[in-house]
Amino acid sequence: MGRRLPQIFFALSLFALVLIIAAVWQASTPSWKKYQHEYLQMEAQGEPNAVTKAAVLNTPPQIQQILLPGLQRVDRCTTCHQGVEDPTMKNAPEPFHYHQGLGPHVPSKFGCTICHGGQGLATDVKDAHGNVPFWQTPLLPADYVRASCGRCHKEGDIPGVPELTEGRRLFETEGCRGCHKLNGIGGSIGPDLSEEGASLRSPQWLEQHFLNPSAVSPGSAMPNFHFTRGQARALTYYMLSLTNADMGAYYASEPLIPSPSYGRELFVQKDCLVCHSIGGVGAKVGPDLLGVTKRHSTNWLDEQLVNPQLVYPGSSMPAFDMPATERKAVIAFLATATATDAQAIVAGKGQAPTPEDAAIAAGKLDFGRFGCAGCHGTDLQGGVPNPNAQGGEVPSLLHLASDYSKDDVLEIIRNGRVPPLANTKGPQPPLYMPAWKNLLSDEDIHQIVEFLWSKQQKSQDNW
């Protein structure tokens, strides 16, 4: 025995090494790599150029994921379903098939599990499709996926999903609330249905239950309503759409959908009525916007929003730095906007806008755009350190009016200024006010001064 000890130790160590290699092998051969490999080969097939072909084939395998931070969701489905957003994969077999008919619901913004269910975090077939213990929302069968539309679109008709409209109508007219609570209203004989869409019940179970409650739930107190198959399907859709998770609010708040209501928000935020009017309500600096979408094409309007100078050289409309979805949203709003909207917006502001407001708004834009805010702060608070300048920092612009007149300030902006030194023998301060007269038009400078004056505060400490 004693002599064998080193041999036993050696054998065990070898066994441990084998186990480690097995673990590494287990970890480096996940099923998704196989699918990515297949996909790359499919892509490379039609590739005539040998170099490109080799590059495609040598793409390193990678987990793909769509992050939806607001929903605490991570969808890794596209790790295998690589072709969802690639129209050339229209005829590819699953799991590489292109997803048609999504409209604005692009997978890269919406993820997959939001509609389909399943376990977005998982990276192997069984776990990802969610038919595993301890995962509450397995993949919805194809027949029922459209029920998920109701999770965000909680009101009104949803095009292409008449079942949801019918289900909602049935729920409110057949007296379901007599026994079931939904969002706090209803009886308590049956279970609360507010989270029914997130429960473990399968769609088939729900549908059977509507057709004959006691068949799937013996002893159930729910009477048989003798629903038709279509009605049972509609109610099942409605049940599957019920969840408290406020996904609709997330997507509406995120600039993902260029909806008219989002466009209206932007319209208010950008103070468009400072220059424009709708149906005569608002300022008259720019053209009236009532029916503007009928006068111009969507593309023209989009270009106008990107850079007004390109469409109308010399236009006084500033270029609003808006991403495509925001521009689409504003145009969508303009298509529906009426004088009533404008009145409501003006009422919300408290006062009708004046040409002075327009100048101030333009000045505010310039103040940010030309970089004034870089040193003086977005709220004119100053405070950027500037060694050896008097005060040691870039001055705040909130109390200009107590020391300078408007003309003084115009002069300073035009010709620039070196700040007075704190220590006359010390070095020059690194920051100074440059001369702007060659960069800004006089109109811009005036607008900036108007903006500055609109922000002046009464000096607190006038001793």
Partner: protein, 428 residues
């Protein structure tokens, strides 16, 4: 070649292992190995006496520290992300499932091995003089191990974790006067939530491991000072008081050879100071059985280490740690169960909160702590201590039976449901 030899010599600084001097120097010139004596008796390493349970427990702890540190790189103790981090470990992190499974299975194994180790120490009477206090240290280490396992249980933030800790801390809340304060101190609130998670995390990765390491050092040091690893001393030749020699303290300056036991044996400082050896004493003839720790002891320990590691790795390769659905405070599983080692207590609580939550655990811990001072019988021979062995066996069996009932025979509403009867949960 000379340079290489010089570098090697500068590292090991000992004679070749083929010489006796080299074998001794391997032990006492090495900071990690010198907790061992340079020479050991063969009986110290008799497998069917100790079953190496103490070694295995310590090696499991090493596995836990190693995998635990690796897991810390991937885990954030905050409710909204903790569960997602577990899922990432499961699906995205390279070897993540293997790592987590090793940690989980080693943790369960450590709880079991600590308990078995305690049983072995009791049945061999190894807690008797002079080892009484080391038994007490051991009991505290048992409690710390349970604490480590319990605090780690919450971290995955799944339903299993959330409700096990809710039930577990509720049991603690039954203690009179202080119970609720301790519970709130532990949870940082009235219910298990974000504060509880960060507190359990700090306890799990910093406080409790530090305490375990500190007490383990004491535990090992005491073993060495109390006469080495336990051995079936009653089977050895009887003592001859007039020929006593001490073992353990070796004069490190003298050349180490097999010195025949005689009156001219040199003694360690402690004997000189106290005038009387505090160690276990044996007959002088026994001295001849002593062998060098290298290779006799070290290879046995190394084999125990490798066996422990391979068993944990093999288990983790084929059987992954469970992860249930995300913790949901609004949805109580029925039945909600504490971690398995507390299910005996939960079973008692289901009969009487006072007895199960307060009296039984307090008495159990107290009884374990006072055993070496209460049991005055000096003999370690099993035939001399039938009463003690019977009592302890009853204690162990009752504990095991309660845990088995709590684990396998309790269904919804804590009703008695044998494991072979399937109950449909959540039936309306």
């Amino acid at each position: 070649m000379n340079l290489i030899r010089e570098i090697w010599q500068s590292i090991v600084r000992r004679d070749p292992l083929s010489t006796d001097k080299g074998k001794s120097e391997l032990v006492f010139l090495n900071v990690w190995l010198h907790i061992h004596p340079a020479k050991v008796k063969k009986e110290h390493f008799k497998f069917n006496h100790t079953f190496y349970l103490g070694f295995i427990t310590f090696f499991l702890f090493l596995v836990l520290v190693t995998t635990g540190i690796a897991l810390m790189c991937y885990y954030r103790p905050y409710p909204s992300v903790a569960y997602q981090d577990m899922k990432d470990l499961q699906f995205v992190v390279f070897m993540g499932p293997f790592l987590r499974s090793m940690h989980r299975w080693a943790a369960h194994a450590m709880v079991i091995c600590v308990f078995l180790h305690m049983c072995r120490v009791f049945y061999t009477g190894s807690y008797k003089k002079p080892r009484q206090f080391n038994w007490v240290v051991g009991v505290i280490l048992l409690l710390l191990t349970l604490g480590l396992s319990f605090t780690g249980y919450l971290l995955p933030w799944d339903q299993l974790a959330f409700w096990a800790i809710t039930v577990g801390t509720n049991i603690g809340g039954y203690a009179p006067f202080v119970g609720n304060y301790i519970r709130e101190l532990l949870l940082g609130g009235h219910t298990v939530g974000q504060e509880a998670l960060i507190r359990f995390y700090v306890l799990h990765v910093a406080v409790l491991p530090s305490l375990v390491i500190l007490l383990t050092i004491v535990h090992f040091w005491r073993i060495r000072k109390d006469g080495g690893l336990s051995r079936p001393i009653w089977k050895l030749k009887p003592n001859k008081p007039e020929e006593l020699v001490t073992i353990g303290a070796t004069p490190q300056t003298a050349p180490l050879q097999a010195v025949a036991a005689s009156s001219d044996k040199t003694y360690g400082l402690m004997e000189v100071v106290t005038g009387k050896p505090i160690f276990e004493t044996v007959a002088p003839e026994e001295e001849e059985d002593a062998v060098f720790s290298y290779p006799f002891a070290f290879f046995r320990e190394a084999i125990a280490l490798m066996a422990t590691v391979t068993v944990v790795m093999a288990t983790s390769l084929f059987w992954h740690a469970p992860l249930e659905e995300l913790a949901n405070p609004a949805k109580t599983p029925n039945p909600a169960k504490a971690p398995w080692y507390f299910l005996g207590l939960q079973e008692l609580v289901s009969h009487s909160a006072l007895i199960g939550g307060v009296v039984a655990p307090s008495l159990m811990v107290l009884a374990l702590l006072v055993i070496p001072y209460f049991d005055r019988n000096p003999s370690r021979r099993p035939s001399d201590r039938k009463w003690a062995i019977w009592l302890f066996t009853i204690f162990v069996v009752i504990n095991l039976v309660l845990i088995v009932i709590g684990t396998f025979f309790r269904g919804p509403g804590w009703a008695f449901v044998p494991p072979w009867v399937h109950v449909v949960a959540g039936a309306e």
